[in-house]
Subunit: 341 residues, 4 copies
Amino acid sequence: MTIGIGLVGYGYWGPNLFRNFRNNADCRVIGIADKKVETREHIAAAFSDILAFEDVEMLIALPGVDAVVVATPVASHYDIARRALDAGKHVLLEKPMCATSDEASDLIERAKRKSLVLMVDHTFLFTGAVQMIKELVARSALGQVCYFDSLRVNLGLFQPDVNCLWDLAPHDLSIINYLIDDELIDVEASGYCHVNQVAPDMVYLTLHFRKNCIAHLNLSWMSPVKIRRFTIGGTEKMLVWDDLDEDQKIKIYSSGIHFQPEEQRSMIIPQYRIGDIHSPRLRKTEALNGVAEHFADVIQGKVPSIMAGNEGLKIVRTLELAQARLDNNLERVRSQRDKPL
Amino acid sequence: MTIGIGLVGYGYWGPNLFRNFRNNADCRVIGIADKKVETREHIAAAFSDILAFEDVEMLIALPGVDAVVVATPVASHYDIARRALDAGKHVLLEKPMCATSDEASDLIERAKRKSLVLMVDHTFLFTGAVQMIKELVARSALGQVCYFDSLRVNLGLFQPDVNCLWDLAPHDLSIINYLIDDELIDVEASGYCHVNQVAPDMVYLTLHFRKNCIAHLNLSWMSPVKIRRFTIGGTEKMLVWDDLDEDQKIKIYSSGIHFQPEEQRSMIIPQYRIGDIHSPRLRKTEALNGVAEHFADVIQGKVPSIMAGNEGLKIVRTLELAQARLDNNLERVRSQRDKPL
Amino acid sequence: MTIGIGLVGYGYWGPNLFRNFRNNADCRVIGIADKKVETREHIAAAFSDILAFEDVEMLIALPGVDAVVVATPVASHYDIARRALDAGKHVLLEKPMCATSDEASDLIERAKRKSLVLMVDHTFLFTGAVQMIKELVARSALGQVCYFDSLRVNLGLFQPDVNCLWDLAPHDLSIINYLIDDELIDVEASGYCHVNQVAPDMVYLTLHFRKNCIAHLNLSWMSPVKIRRFTIGGTEKMLVWDDLDEDQKIKIYSSGIHFQPEEQRSMIIPQYRIGDIHSPRLRKTEALNGVAEHFADVIQGKVPSIMAGNEGLKIVRTLELAQARLDNNLERVRSQRDKPL
Amino acid sequence: MTIGIGLVGYGYWGPNLFRNFRNNADCRVIGIADKKVETREHIAAAFSDILAFEDVEMLIALPGVDAVVVATPVASHYDIARRALDAGKHVLLEKPMCATSDEASDLIERAKRKSLVLMVDHTFLFTGAVQMIKELVARSALGQVCYFDSLRVNLGLFQPDVNCLWDLAPHDLSIINYLIDDELIDVEASGYCHVNQVAPDMVYLTLHFRKNCIAHLNLSWMSPVKIRRFTIGGTEKMLVWDDLDEDQKIKIYSSGIHFQPEEQRSMIIPQYRIGDIHSPRLRKTEALNGVAEHFADVIQGKVPSIMAGNEGLKIVRTLELAQARLDNNLERVRSQRDKPL
């Protein structure tokens, strides 16, 4: 049975979702809703078989629409998703899932009541790189994971409705949550607002997990160079994923962190195994294609979801916690700055 | 007049200091003190004109010794420097200057009383890269400096008497202090102890300065790759200094952070100027040679010091503050971790 | 007046030509001819306004078709282009222009007789990189150009109807001819056939030009890594164009070849100026879009062609000469190899 | 028994040889001969235990000198080596071995007659990289070696007594000869003289070997960037050695050239295995230290020489052949250039 797709929002990311769902054999895109008249005209001219709506309700109400894919600003996610779920439609939301954890919880509850699929598009989970890393971590090829270190910086693009934290951190959080099964016990956050006093454009996060694992995220819209560099330190091996390196996206270093027995730790100089570097070949298929396929598979009951609503909620909760810490720190620094010399 | 040099400590860094002071026309190395007998035997065999001592006092007491250069573990800095100053000898200390700010203050006071030169070897200040950056910042070529971001990571080497913070941060702190004239108003520090429970091996620092400038330092002994990457964001241009890139150590990006007038900041989308990249050619002389020359010049009254004792003290104070914040955070996280689930 | 476009061949490159001509305001793509029935069915399904033909003649004969764009294997170029020109249609041919210089000359003659535009798609000329280099060379920013050195290697792709020379060399030859106005006086060619005994898969060319300029091309289908590296040595500056470097495609080195006066050359040690590196920002528009625009502009008489038929002919002649030298060398080596030890 | 070493020539390379032989436990450097008086004065001042001579004969004649190491301009190699051999001393010559193959043959004959060791310092053979590659090739880890491709370019340094061919090619020739046991059957050479009309500063060599192997060398003193990139294509794997890449000097690509059976080669499209990349960790000891050790070991009869005089002769013969081809080509091009248009 083909799944009828209604797409809400045809701005920056919408066309990519459209293209991938259109190419998916299990899905058929029926209509698109977008507030801009020029966008609707463009859709009508380019795709004779696609209905274009101004009103989201009309799209949701279409009998052929089984699932609604939402690629609008985050502030509108909750309202659109709620209506779709209440109308009995499955929902795929862009990241971050919602503006608040309350919204996210409410959607999860509604989806559960109606046995509908609620999913968040954390696209990175479907890249060849993350799939490869997941496989390595799952079979303990790196040993025990000790730390994550992410450098995710670029110049712009400022989004009107999110700050740098909400824009960039969901990528790392979804990846870390996917890779390890651990409980976050503490978040530290600092940052700075260079351009817009209310929206940080550089954010530094330190996340502490229960099982002796730490994650540090350096997020910035202010870097002259785009960098996407994600390092994992393990007791057996370390891994560097440079997403912009076409030739060697992933390098596995045969150097692990060698732990000493607990009682000797304080007096023994650590030893490192230094060894070879290995760069596995990665799958080159488009990640978003995997998202569309996974959404269809979950709706059809073929597989359990790896990015269900509760995963999205977990990330929104971490963002809220980080934002609170960040606000607190920014405020303390501001008050320090205003003190007389 | 030639300056007679006595060198204390001939371990890892001492031989480099020896070589550079020996090559300096204004200095003459007279003797070396080192506790290891094999080291003293090696010195005696290799350099017939150099006296080797076990006892630091004897070296300091030599009439021909005008200045004492100290390359011993940091715990011994204060004691050796104090004796040298009290004996009327100028002093050059390796970084970090002392184990505590009290020690550093006391040395400054003693040097002042006897009008002696007290200096700290922050070698990086004499690299072609930092000299070039200083010149650019001094003539406002980057505009107003908005942020520093340093990635200073490698695998090992654990030093027995310092942790990762005291080992690596002095480099960045000395460079930042040299480049901008600003007041530190807040320090945040997080980190982790993987190998040795009392000595952090990964440390993240966020430094806030009074004039709207922020610095972030990612310091680690746990990275599979050595990285020395220092970024400066300015209102006119941004600069990346990759100290391991032989071909292009410094890249200047013609992209600046474009500030909006205060009242418009919250509503206007920022604009970036994206432009060319320029890599200036750098001087290739050895930095430590510049240190020796500078020490001699300051003793001879030719130039004021750019790394005097008060600079060293400032850095030790920052390290103490960061260490206190780090300890506090590590403790909070530990107590979180020990809570029942 | 809109130019009606008929496209012949919708395989690897055809879809790119289609997309760019379709997006060009001065052109309207009317029909496509392709021998494969599945391709024609795909076109019919995807683009309701495009006619699909099996027979090229029918496409050419369409009254609305003013110009024919040919993206078929090179063996068929001459026949299709001849029919189009004889029918009074302008022609854009993929590179290399024809299988022989006789074919190319004949087409030029036919186009001239009917005052039709005959052009070859040397796409690289419309990249931001080549446009920037052309501008630099035109205003002698590099001084006098002394040499070109091209490394154009990758793994596969074997084309059924051309060898590595005819596949890769046209790129470099079109760029060199575009950059300098000089006469080729000698070609040396060596190479090797690893996989297919009649088609070289590694070719080395040395081209000598009249005005003291030399070019060396290292072309290979056998390299484990893709490299597109083009170096220009000038008397004032040198330039490296690395087409796969997204951050710094072009680096200009402030180091020139310093000539001695003729009479002193043999005895004086040369001097190099070593200086800064500069990476200009490049235009990021798609090169093929520029090709479509240029073809339309030339048809409309707005500009003279920078890649007219005679440019294509010049390149085919060089390829023929190089192939002859290559065959000769391969034969000599083969006979050497067959000699008894 | 310690081997007494006499070193001739203390210019650019001599000090490196001195340091490594001085550190070798089996050797003792007794004296150095150099024509420059300042050099001799420097040696006398710095090393009280080393005798410095103007006259090579006096050094050779010293009873304690068992072996003579020659680091003078190539034109003087023959004369010095001949005298040393005739005086019964072992000889290590810098590369290239001699100015002519006749000279080299004569030295080999003299060494043989007196059962003396005659060796050429092809330092690269003792690098961790070449040792690793030799080991891989020896156990056929790359499959059958199909090609070598070397890019060995930099800016300057012009040597007064050799051209770019004789300066740079010996490195590649010694490495190739060390790696494969094959017979050279043809050499093609082209190049250019930019600065000095009699000495080519850019040279391109194509070497054909009997067993279906080809080597291409791109040698230049005219490149704005220094590159040392050596590629080996095998039927199982390909290897890239970038000697300036500190992190990954050697990359092994799991992609081999897949041969078709002879009778099918002309019609079948080749297939490539594309796979992982592996960078083995290399030994980091100084190569020249290995040369000193090897020279001592061969003199002491512990191992056979891997860079004996006949290896040096083989390389000089190839250089002579290449020079003849190069001269021929340069002459033909010059006569073409002088023809009226």
